[in-house]
Symmetry: C2
Subunit: 241 residues, 2 copies
């Protein structure tokens, strides 16, 4: 192997636009947009100054973010990070369920026995973290588990479409986790899903994945009101000033 092989990917059609998109996207996902105190405003010129580039690539990145639903661009008003409503979030979970349940069905057809053995091994390895209530570790493992199912389906579009939704769920997860009961139940669900996959039962695997995801749906439906209420309280307080 020559040194060229290691150098080749460098600066290969690198563009500021794409880089800016990644940076902004990461930054938005990083911030807790549901904090009522959060500053949701983005300023093209300030960003340009911060990143030491012109507004042009920033605007292209913002346009993409807007199209992806992460920000809203209001002409002559500003660019604002989008706060998802409870309804939006529930719809994302439903759509996620649709995609992953289809993926599970395909997995029973397309995945190799080896793939499924590795998936089971992975799930068992990290099940202890749920019991230990190490939520950080469990969360990561949980994400990987579901992404693996989408991956093993062999349908890249299912995976990418779900990834788009997953982006928006990052901020939600921060507020959904924390109940170790859900984590423990999740572990059981995962094992039952793997059982169905390994028995190559498409109908069963599809159903279990769907029901697993819809449990998250129902959980959010019951508990998510809090954030919006805080927002309403804040608005009311502002009006009374």
């Amino acid at each position: 192997m020559s040194i060229d092989d290691k150098l080749s990917p460098i600066a290969q059609s690198f563009t500021l636009k794409d880089h800016t998109f990644d940076v902004l996207r990461a930054a938005i996902l990083e911030m807790d947009i549901y904090d009522p105190e959060a500053d949701l405003r983005l300023d093209e010129r300030k960003l340009a100054e911060r990143l030491n580039i012109s507004r042009t690539p920033i605007r292209e990145a913002l346009a993409r973010l807007a199209h992806e639903g992460l920000v809203q661009i209001v002409p002559r008003k500003g660019v604002f990070v989008c706060r998802k409503s409870r309804k939006d979030i529930l719809e994302m979970v439903v759509t996620w369920a649709a995609l992953e349940s289809m993926a599970a069905r395909l997995v029973t057809i397309n995945a190799s026995d080896t793939d499924l053995k590795m998936l089971r091994k992975f799930a068992m390895k990290h099940s202890s973290s749920a019991v230990r209530a190490d939520l950080e570790e469990y969360s990561d493992a949980n994400v990987t588990f579901h992404q693996t199912i989408l991956e093993l389906s062999g349908c890249a579009l299912l995976r990418t479409t779900a990834d788009g939704l997953f982006t928006h769920m990052q901020a939600v997860r921060r507020r959904t986790m924390g109940e170790s009961d859900r984590a423990r139940r999740s572990v059981v669900d995962h094992m039952e899903i793997i059982d169905a996959l390994q028995s190559r039962d498409g109908d069963l695997a599809s159903r279990r994945v769907r029901e697993h995801t819809m449990r998250l749906h129902d959980h959010i439906a019951k508990t998510w009101s809090r954030v919006e209420n805080i927002g309403l309280l804040r608005d009311a307080a502002a009006r009374s000033n």
Copy 2:
């Protein structure tokens, strides 16, 4: 009613960027991109001249189109309309099936009896066009039928996500239709789907929608080779020159 009511929506935060996006998108969907003779190249400057605007809004529109997968932007080479591979198309159909089958399940929960009665009435009204082999009319009715199911699910995200896929399928449909056998079979499928919806059987409705869509999948899998082969022939001819 005063004249204001009719004028109000005019120029309401209209932007060239969005307009250009719509125009380009419509133009791309209009052209038969699978014609081997088709010119897939787009030139920012020529478009700017044609539309009498600067490159800036065009570039933003192109960036969005690229993100949506309709075009591919290659730095210092050009912008090209994307030709979907057979695999891409099959994946779109699978993903579509995932979304619409979930939608059907939700319809059995959320739709009113009146909604379903209207859906049946619509389907019956247009079933004759399939028999008459009036493919233009049947195709439109077919589209409306499936969009209605997504609509009645009550989950806007399912609908919009599916719409995104549908965009890409326009060009494919032109080459998939034409076999009246499929149209007739489709009519039967639709009626069976409506039966399941009206009996409020979520599992059955979901399954029938999935199987219906996957029949399109299998059909394309069997017949789509033609276009790519033509492309290969053209390439081979070009090489031998």
